[in-house]
């Protein structure tokens, strides 16, 4: 326990007043000649112990009254804030995204900084203060000592909430480290935060371990800001419903929104637009979205011309505005050329293994009269290097790999170079695979990294796709209709690559029910190779006859296209770096990054072969669309990147309570609640004055009654 006005404790000396009164009043007794002395003596014998005890109790009561009064005036506080001796205080300030939440027009970060400034005022002479910010990373912002905290105050005023997710461990680790060699007797870590659950949970084991080793000389204070947010609309994701964006077409998009609050949101607008033309998009009004509900809102979007665009979805307006929008960088095409290489050229189209695939691709072109998706089907024997030039994506549907109708080797040998320039290849394994050493077989085996081994199903037990095994990146599509029904399809024969077990070769998209990978994707320089352990024909599976087949093909095609391009969407927490494939499109050597709010920051770059890697010399703290531009001319070079923040920050805006934090940390620490007006609330947080005053009042009442009963009023 510490005291806000410690010198008032001198008032405890007043406890001597009852003692003094006791002796003063004893000094002049009245003398009475008396006859019935024996009765006096007898009653004294009978009551002296009782009287002595009563007197003692009354004396203690009165002395305690004075002492408690002095303690109450000295303003005791459970915490050791403010401090009674020279203190080394480390102010750890949470600047994660949720600290941007507004509380009565004031952000949580502003509340926290106000509370911190009040604390600085209360630090005793000779103290030092250090300001550390933490989100998922830590940064020391300022240091002041001997009561000169102007730098710390200035740093506090300049703080802005970032869009990073919270991870509090680094902040505590840095704070402990800075206090380790502190010469001052009192060491305090004061953490100002809205105490988001995710911030405590991300490294809770490390946090617990850190605090277990906390020296006794260091105490930890938690200052909580913020109140629960009843309604918070989040834009979780936005995606093209067709998977491929063609310019000049009004195509459907899907915007995923969620209300993370516990009360319904009503009558809000969801808007989808290009960031270059924010007024030109389309919007939909949502009448009601229940607390905790997640919904997919379909909105159409027209991209006027081919090229790279930033699409942004916005939904509603609430206290936590940071997660109300999300941007994505898309490439709009005027056309897409797809080559389907079949196993054999047969007269009966139903017996060709690429028949259903080709038709599925054609069905997704949208406009039948002016198809933007051009699908060309040829047999394996006919495929030559010349076809590579006129194809963006190639499907090899179990091509014949031996004999006169085998896949041309010159075609297969050119495929790697073709892929490296940012193209996609999808290989379906089927009955045409050959046994033997891959090195001595068809060159395609080198490309697909080995010979797939057939795995026949039992007579009455077909294989199925296991939707539970879908990888995270693809999970969104497989969780919603119609692809969530794909496990109903039967597979009679499947193929497995022994080398698929090697994680260095890419990642599994989905597996069969027996655990064998069904589809496998790997980056091939700038291109993408997707391997499937099945063939989309009726001899292998009934999937082509099911309604899930076309969406699956569209999804594969969209993902291949998306991943074969340089990445343009990053979590805001990662370093900002993008690459450009073509040196010809680049202009001057000087580039700048333009932040979503229009501020410009210098950029640096270096070459890796043909690729030019742009890196930011800074760490952007805000999500949104960032532009990389050569200055002076918009035409020389301009590209965009969308930085996206974690949706976890908007999930529980109420934050954890003291006991919950104690449970995570495995120990009890001091907790305070900073209010809307923190300078007032801070000063009363942890104070026990009112409690002591209540105690004084009760004790006074007791003393009065007791003194009256004992016949000894003061």
């Amino acid at each position: 326990m510490q005291f806000l006005i410690p010198w008032m404790l001198a008032g405890t000396l007043a406890a001597g007043v009852p003692l003094a009164l006791h002796f003063l009043r004893k000094s002049k007794p009245v003398v009475v000649p008396w006859a019935a002395m024996a009765f006096l003596r007898r009653s004294l014998r009978e009551t002296s112990r009782k009287i002595r005890f009563r007197d003692l109790l009354l004396l203690i009561c009165r002395m305690a009254l004075f002492i408690l009064l002095a303690i109450a005036i000295a303003r005791p506080t459970l915490s050791s804030l403010p401090l009674s001796g020279a203190t080394d205080a480390v102010l750890v300030m949470d600047i994660s995204q949720s600290m941007a939440t507004q509380e009565a027009g004031v952000s949580r970060l502003e509340q926290a900084t106000d509370a911190a400034k009040v604390l600085l005022e209360k630090l005793p002479l000779g103290s030092s203060a250090r300001l550390i910010t933490v989100s998922d990373r830590v940064e020391e912002k300022a240091f002041g000592q001997s009561g000169k905290f102007d730098t710390v105050r200035t740093a506090l005023e300049s703080l802005q909430p970032t869009d990073y997710a919270g991870d509090y461990y680094p902040g505590f680790e840095a704070a402990m480290e800075s206090l380790r060699n502190s010469p001052l007797p009192v060491k305090q870590v004061i953490f100002f935060s809205d105490m988001q659950s995710s911030g405590w949970q991300r490294q809770n084991a490390s946090l617990r371990s850190l605090l277990e080793k906390l020296p006794e000389s260091i105490s930890v204070q938690m200052v909580k800001v913020g109140t629960p947010v009843p309604i918070n609309i989040q834009v979780l994701d936005l995606e093209s419903a067709t998977g491929i964006t063609f310019s000049g077409q009004r195509l459907p998009w899907l915007v995923h929104v969620r209300n993370t609050g516990d009360q319904p949101a009503s009558d809000f607008e969801v808007r989808l637009s290009l960031t270059d033309d924010p007024e030109g998009g389309e919007s939909v009004r949502v009448a009601r979205l229940e607390g905790g509900e997640e919904r997919v809102i379909p909105i159409d979007l027209l991209v006027p011309r081919p090229g790279r665009f930033a699409v942004e979805a916005k939904a509603g307006s609430d206290r936590f505005a940071r997660d109300n929008q999300k941007a994505k960088i898309i490439t709009a095409r005027d056309r897409l050329r797809v080559l389907v290489v079949e196993g054999k050229s047969l007269v009966d189209p139903f017996r060709t293994n690429g028949f259903f695939l080709a038709h599925a691709l054609r069905s997704s072109t949208g406009d039948a009269n002016a198809p933007r998706l051009e699908v060309k089907t040829i047999s394996a024997a006919m495929a030559g290097p010349e076809h590579l030039e006129e194809s963006d994506v190639i499907f090899l549907v179990d091509p014949v790999l031996a004999g006169s109708e085998q896949l041309r080797t010159d075609f297969a040998e050119q495929l790697p170079n073709w892929m490296k320039t940012g193209h996609g290849l999808i290989y379906f394994a089927g009955k045409n695979v050959l046994a033997g050493n891959p090195e001595e077989l068809h060159p395609i085996y080198t490309l697909i990294d080995g010979v797939p081994q057939p795995w026949k199903a039992d007579a009455n037990k077909a294989f199925h796709l296991d939707t539970q095994s879908v990888s995270t990146e693809w999970l969104g599509r497989f969780q919603s209709a119609p692809l969530n029904q794909i496990s109903q399809a039967d597979f009679s024969a499947i193929y497995n690559w022994p080398s698929n077990n090697s994680s260095s070769k890419g990642s599994q998209i989905v597996s069969f029910s027996n655990g064998t990978p069904a589809m496998w994707i790997q980056k091939f320089s700038n291109g993408i190779l997707l391997k499937a352990g099945w063939t989309p024909d009726l001899e292998c599976t009934d999937l082509p006859l099911r309604p899930t087949f076309v969406p699956l093909v569209q999804t594969i095609l969209a993902r291949i296209l998306e991943q074969s391009e340089p990445r343009r969407i990053f979590p805001v927490e990662l370093p900002l770096a993008i690459q450009s494939n073509s040196r010809e499109t680049l202009g001057k050597e000087q580039f700048v990054w333009i932040a979503p709010d229009g501020h410009k920051y210098p950029s640096k770059h270096h070459y890796e072969g043909d690729r030019r890697i742009f890196e930011a010399e800074f760490q952007p703290e805000r999500s949104g669309v960032w532009k990389l531009q050569s200055p002076g001319s918009d035409e020389d070079f301009s590209t965009q990147v969308a930085l996206q923040s974690s949706p976890m920050e908007g999930l529980e805006l109420g934050g954890l309570q003291g006991p919950e934090i104690d449970e995570i940390l495995g120990r009890k620490v001091y907790h305070h609640q900073a209010g809307i007006t923190p300078s007032e609330s801070w000063s009363s947080q942890g104070e026990l004055s009112w409690m002591v005053m209540v105690l004084v009042g009760l004790l006074f009442l007791f003393e009065t009654f007791f003194a009256w009963w004992a016949g000894k009023p003061l």
Partner: protein, 317 residues
């Protein structure tokens, strides 16, 4: 001042007059020397018929009941109660403890008044009244001891000797001297004839031996009357604050806060009074509590009236 004294004197005269009207009767049979109006244990031949008995030679023939002889042909004589006077011994306590109370309210003044009234009432009924003043043994004039006498002349001497005595607090003695107990024992030893013993005291002595001596008086056939004189302060203990109580009969003193002791003190005193009353009732001793700071009229006259009433009831029965 003089008017208050006059009014006090008048009220005392009034008290004396009313007391004389009631008279002081012994409730038990007492031995007297002369014919009086007090019942004696002797059968005589006076006015009050007592019983018949067989004639025995030697009986005075004047007392033969001839009418009875005519009816029964047997010689029987009539016997009558011999009425006599009594001897009253007044033990007046003027020990140091009786000094308590301011003038006009002090215990000894009240005791002196009571003694005077009883003496005058007794002598007016031709009773022999003796008085013994009980004082702590001290140097100087010894305490007067006036033997019983029926002579009215002695009354003046008696009253004079009473009024001249004042209790003197004894602060140099370490312990109390049981003067009442001693006086009763001496009285019991010396006086053979049954009479009335009036004890006027605050009884602040060890109670058990005192009780035994009073019991002894009763066994010897004396009619014992206790006029218990206490000041209301001694009953209520009204003081507040820090008080030093100094014993009036010894060097003992006590510094305390009486309000803290009040309840237990009052209880102890009431228990003691109850014990005295209970003992007196059992032993057929007349007991009257007379507060010293109140006029004794009511308690004294009430006591005399009670005695008169009991006496009459005793005769008829």
């Amino acid at each position: 001042m003089s008017s208050s004294r006059d009014s006090t004197s008048q009220s005392q005269q009034e008290l004396l007059k009313r007391a004389k009207q009631l008279g002081l009767r012994a409730l038990t049979l007492v031995d007297g020397l002369r014919v009086g109006d007090q019942a004696s244990p002797l059968r005589g031949f006076s006015i009050e018929f007592a019983q018949h008995r067989e004639y025995v030679p030697g009986d005075d023939l004047r007392h033969l009941d001839w009418r009875g002889y005519a009816r029964t042909e047997r010689f029987i004589v009539k016997q009558y109660d011999q009425e006599t006077n009594y001897t009253a011994h007044i033990l007046l306590d003027l020990s140091g403890s009786m000094a308590y109370g301011k003038p006009g309210e002090s215990k000894y003044e009240q005791a002196q008044l009571l003694a005077a009234v009883i003496s005058q009432v007794g002598i007016s009924q031709a009773n022999a009244i003796g008085i013994k003043i009980l004082e702590e043994p001290q140097a100087g004039e010894p305490a007067p001891n006036l033997p019983p006498s029926t002579k009215p002349d002695r009354l003046r001497l008696l009253l004079d000797s009473i009024s001249r005595r004042k209790p003197i607090p004894e602060r140099n003695r370490e312990t109390q001297v049981p003067i009442i107990e001693t006086a009763i024992r001496e009285l019991s030893d010396k006086v053979g004839r049954r009479g009335l013993v009036v004890i006027i005291s605050d009884l602040f002595e060890p109670w058990e031996p005192l009780m035994a001596q009073m019991q002894g008086l009763r066994i010897r056939g004396h009619d014992v009357m206790v006029l218990h004189v206490l000041h209301s302060h001694e009953i209520d203990l009204p003081w507040e604050g820090q008080v030093q109580f100094e014993d009036l009969e010894s060097s003992d003193f006590l510094l305390t806060q009486p309000h803290l002791l009040r309840a237990s003190y009052q209880k102890a005193l009431q228990d003691w009074l109850e014990e005295i009353k209970s003992f007196c009732t059992k032993s057929r001793i007349e007991y009257v509590l007379v507060p010293s700071d109140q006029p004794p009229d009511e308690s004294l006259l009430s006591m005399l009236a009670q005695r008169l009433k009991k006496r009459r009831i005793g005769r008829t029965s």
